[in-house]
């Protein structure tokens, strides 16, 4: 069994969000980069758990990004990825990115493809579903649990207000979220070993970009908090009713 895990580079969750070049690009000064948490904590660690249960499973990583994404790819290799494939291009439009990964996926003949449920920067939540359409395979989104039995996956996925259990034959694309696995820290052996693991770089295949970012902006600052004395909480209820008209 071969599993492909798609990983993306995002700013750290505490990064200050600011924009440069006349608000057309993210200001990267001083930003710490991480593996998108959904890709790392849930998709990658789940795949590692599956391999721990069945060592014959092969774990490959896919990334679309410039050379500056290599540190996060090495971290994913340190955690347990065995071989990585980086498509050397900026990840801008979702369809363009999905097309690059689809190209890798077709060549690698994978049984399972994992993505995070979305990235914490663009919040497109699109790559997994687009990939499944490009590969013409089933897609289960927001998976919180997965069990493999040979070629059949039993997947628990979130639905609005609950969960649903689906059963399907592979190949499939699954987007992962909280519940699938728990965050891990790479150990020293993993970090040392990651340096010599294969990281293949290829140039992008031709694909259209359907969208482009025109500009960014920040939400207006709050006017300031109105403090209500702790001994008169009923005043809060009055304000929420009469002023904010929220209740």
């Amino acid at each position: 069994m071969k599993i492909l895990i798609c990983i993306s580079k995002t700013p750290d969750t505490t990064a200050k969000i600011a924009f440069a070049d006349n608000n057309t690009s993210f200001a990267t000064d001083g930003v710490q980069w991480i593996i998108n948490p959904y890709d790392e904590w849930y998709a990658l660690v789940k795949a590692i758990e599956l391999k721990e249960a069945d060592p014959s499973i092969v774990l490959h990583l896919a990334n679309v990004g410039g050379a500056d994404t290599e540190p996060i790819i090495r971290k994913a290799l340190a955690l347990g990825g065995e071989e990585a494939f980086r498509v050397n291009t900026d990840n801008t439009d979702s369809f363009f990115v999905a097309s690059q990964i689809a190209h890798l996926a077709k060549a690698g003949n994978y049984d399972l493809i994992f993505t995070g449920k979305e990235t914490i920067d663009y919040n497109g939540a699109s790559i997994g579903a687009m990939l499944s359409e490009l590969l013409d395979v089933p897609f289960i989104s927001h998976a919180v649990k997965l069990e493999l039995n040979n070629n059949v996956a039993t997947v628990t996925r979130e639905i609005e207000g609950g969960e649903e259990i689906n059963k399907l034959s592979l190949p499939a694309v699954i987007s992962c979220q909280k519940g699938m696995a728990e965050q891990r820290i790479p150990n020293m052996k993993g970090i040392m070993g990651a340096r010599s693991k294969p990281l293949h770089v290829s140039e992008p295949v031709e694909a259209a970009a359907y969208t482009s970012i025109v500009s960014f902006d920040l939400p207006p600052a709050k006017a300031g908090v109105k403090l209500i004395p702790a001994d008169h909480p009923e005043e809060l209820v009055r304000l929420l009713n009469e002023e904010a008209k929220a209740i």
């Binding site: 395979v137 639905i159 207000g161 689906n166 909280k178 482009s212 904010a244």
Partner: protein, 321 residues
């Protein structure tokens, strides 16, 4: 040329987010001087003509039994085929779990650019530009769609509904529905009443509540307000509350009309998931809690003393209305 809205059904009923999507699509149709139609897949117990109240002029309905199990592949093909059959060139989804599984697949099928998580009507003064939420609610991006066909998925609670007394015509649409390869084993509704992502009011608790045994404060207030309940990440991580209640950067991002945070300090990751809420109330005994900076109303005090008094005051208010 027209606008088609995917109206999502759960347990035979139209989802709230779909009414917003329908009304949003109708507003775009109005902007473009065209009409808005809806596509409904699967059995629905509601009278679909009432989608006219939300600006839909025509509803296309297909009840093939293969649609009873949600399979993104099957649904996406049906929606793409319906888009072509109705010669629609703008397609609207709500950016819910279902919408997120469908819109990108349909985007590939139709070679139509997708903007997911839209928060405003498109700006068509120079191209077709849609404002969307990015960085988990910490910023917005204006994104141009370059393709002829366009797909937008609208964030829940981002568009205010304007209703009318109009009625829509409902007709059956014939589509070739592929058999699903996904077997539905079971469905387990956890919350049942108010889905967190669509709730108007959300009451949320953090570690300041000291233990799961104290959650009655949150659930009582929520029940009284018809609100959904939520929690901070540490609370979900230590299993005081289920994971699906976790709001924040790595949990669910929500945008209710009112968000009441009890005993939550307001770490930047938590704020990212809730700062699109219209009104934020923070109750925390630490006056230095960062959440107060993002709040509209705040009480510096002990939740165990303050919240019961709030509950009493809300009871009084509800009794008088």
């Amino acid at each position: 040329m027209s606008v088609l809205i995917f109206v999502d059904i759960a347990e035979g009923k139209i989802k709230k987010a779909s009414f917003e999507a329908a009304n949003y699509g109708a507003a775009i149709a109005n902007q473009m001087g065209t009409e808005a139609a809806a596509i409904v897949l699967g059995n629905c117990t509601e009278d679909l003509s009432m989608l006219g109240n939300y600006g839909i002029s025509k509803v296309f309905h297909n009840t093939d039994s293969a649609l009873n199990v949600f399979d993104a592949k099957v649904y996406a093909q049906a929606i793409a085929d319906a888009t072509e059959a109705t010669t629609s060139n703008i397609l609207i989804f709500s950016n819910t779990i279902t919408g997120k599984a469908l819109a990108p697949r349909v985007s590939v099928r139709l070679k139509a650019g997708l903007v997911s998580g839209a928060v405003a009507l498109p700006d068509t003064s120079n191209g077709f530009v849609v404002r969307k939420s990015v960085f988990s609610g910490k910023a917005f991006a204006s994104v141009a769609i370059q393709t002829d066909k366009k797909i937008i998925s609208l964030n829940p609670n981002a568009f205010s509904i304007t209703k009318s007394n109009n009625s829509a015509t409902v007709e059956t649409i014939s589509l070739t529905i592929q058999p699903s390869t996904i077997e539905l084993v079971s469905v387990n509704k956890i919350t049942g009443d108010v889905p967190l992502g669509e709730a108007d009011i959300v009451v949320s608790g953090g570690r300041g509540l000291k233990g799961p045994e104290n959650w009655g404060l949150v659930t009582d207030l929520a029940q009284l307000l018809g609100a959904a309940t939520a929690c901070s990440r540490p609370v979900a991580d230590i299993h005081w509350r289920p994971h699906h209640e976790h709001v924040g950067q790595t949990g669910l991002a929500i945008a209710p009309n009112l968000y009441i945070a009890i005993g939550i300090s307001g770490a930047i990751q938590h704020l990212a998931g809730v700062n699109r809420s219209k009104t934020i109330v923070v109750i925390n005994k630490d006056p230095e809690a960062p959440f107060f900076k993002a709040a509209d109303y705040g009480i510096v005090g002990d939740a165990f003393e303050v919240v019961p008094k709030i509950i009493e005051a809300v009871k009084k208010l509800k009794g008088s209305v």
